[in-house]
Symmetry: D3
Subunit: 77 residues, 6 copies
Amino acid sequence: MRLSTRNQLSGTVVDVTTGAVMATVKVRLDGGDQIVTASITREAVEELGLEAGRPATVLIKSTEVMLAVEDQALADG
Amino acid sequence: MRLSTRNQLSGTVVDVTTGAVMATVKVRLDGGDQIVTASITREAVEELGLEAGRPATVLIKSTEVMLAVEDQALADG
Amino acid sequence: MRLSTRNQLSGTVVDVTTGAVMATVKVRLDGGDQIVTASITREAVEELGLEAGRPATVLIKSTEVMLAVEDQALADG
Amino acid sequence: MRLSTRNQLSGTVVDVTTGAVMATVKVRLDGGDQIVTASITREAVEELGLEAGRPATVLIKSTEVMLAVEDQALADG
Amino acid sequence: MRLSTRNQLSGTVVDVTTGAVMATVKVRLDGGDQIVTASITREAVEELGLEAGRPATVLIKSTEVMLAVEDQALADG
Amino acid sequence: MRLSTRNQLSGTVVDVTTGAVMATVKVRLDGGDQIVTASITREAVEELGLEAGRPATVLIKSTEVMLAVEDQALADG
C-alpha cells in the first residue's frame, strides 16, 4: 500500500499511555534523538500491538505541519 | 512563548515551492536524513522569510500524528 | 503495513484537479453513491499515479471526523 | 446553514464509547457497510444526544483526507 | 443542523484570495478586531458565494486548537 | 519564535477539564464574549501550567478552519 501522506518517518516506540478512549504514544525517530508524540485511539494501540521497543512509522499529512523560525534567524536574513 | 504543541523538531529548510495561495516547504530534520514536508500558506512563507538553508522548527500537534507497523513486525510479536 | 488510522474506506477515483502545489481528488465510495473529496499535494497525486478510474482507499484519522444531527432528529429524541 | 466542508456523508450511529473528556462514535454510512469512527469531545456527544440508532452526518474537511493505492494497482498502470 | 464542532465563531468575510484549487478567506470576528484565516477549497468559496462583507461563521474542531503561553506568564505562576 | 500558523488569537483561560491522557481547555477571546475550546494532551496542560485566569494565545492552522453561511444570507446575495 502506497500513501499520499508525505511524511513517513521511521522510529521505535518508547512509551505508551492509555486512557479510556484515547492514548498517547511516543516514538524516537531513527538517526537522532528527536521524539514524536502521537495522540491516537486506544483501539488503534491495541489493534496494532503498540508497546515500547516496537518499530513504528510516524505518518503526518503535510497540511498538518507548521513551521517556526527564531526571531534572531529572521533578523540576520 | 511556550506551545502546547507536543512535536517541535529542529531542522533546516531544503526546498520551497509556491503556488498562488499555498506552498510546500521541505525541512531536513537534524541528526538524520529524514525530510518533513509542510503545506502552509504562501503568505506564511513570505512572512517568515522561508528559503533553502534557513533553520526552522517543524511543529505538529500530537492529534495529527498517525502510526504504522509492518505486518511482519506484528506477526513476530 | 497496518495503520492506526481508523477510517479506511475503499472506492474509485472519479476526478482529479491539480494546481501548482495542491490538488483535489474525488473518490466514489464502494457500495453507495457518496463522494469523498481529498485535498492533497500535487506531488502525491503524481507519485501515486492518481487518475479517474483507479481504485483508491480513503484514509481519515478519527480525530478529524465531526458529526452533525438534524434539529428535527434531536427534537424527536 | 451551508458549510465549506466538502465531505458530508449520511449514516446512522452504531456505537458510542465515552471517556472523561473524549469519546469515540462509530457511524455506518448509508448505502454500504462502511463504518466511520469519529473522535470527538464527550461534551459534543452529550449536547447532540448521540446514541446508537440515531441518524447522523459525518463531516470531514477535504484537507484531512489522505489516499492510498495498492502497489499492484500502480504496477499495472 | 447541529454540529459536534465545538468552535463556531461569528464574523464577517473581509478578504478572499483564490488559487487554482485552494483559496484563503479572512474573517473578522464579531466583538473584536481579531482576524481568522481559513484555507479552504476554491470550490467551497464558489459554492458558498463567499466575498468581502458577507457574514460567515468560523468552524474549528477542538482537536485542531493549540495553546501558547508567554514565558513571563509562566514564570509568574 | 515566529510561527507559520495564521491564527493566533489572544484570550484568557476560563476552564480546564482533564482526563487520563487528554484535556479540554476553554479560552475566552479578548474583545468579545466568544469562547474557544481546545482539546490538547493532559501533558501539555501540566507543562504550560494552564488554569482558569491565565492569559493564553489560541493557535489554529488555517487549513483547519472551515466556514459556514446562513441559507438566508446566500439567498439575499
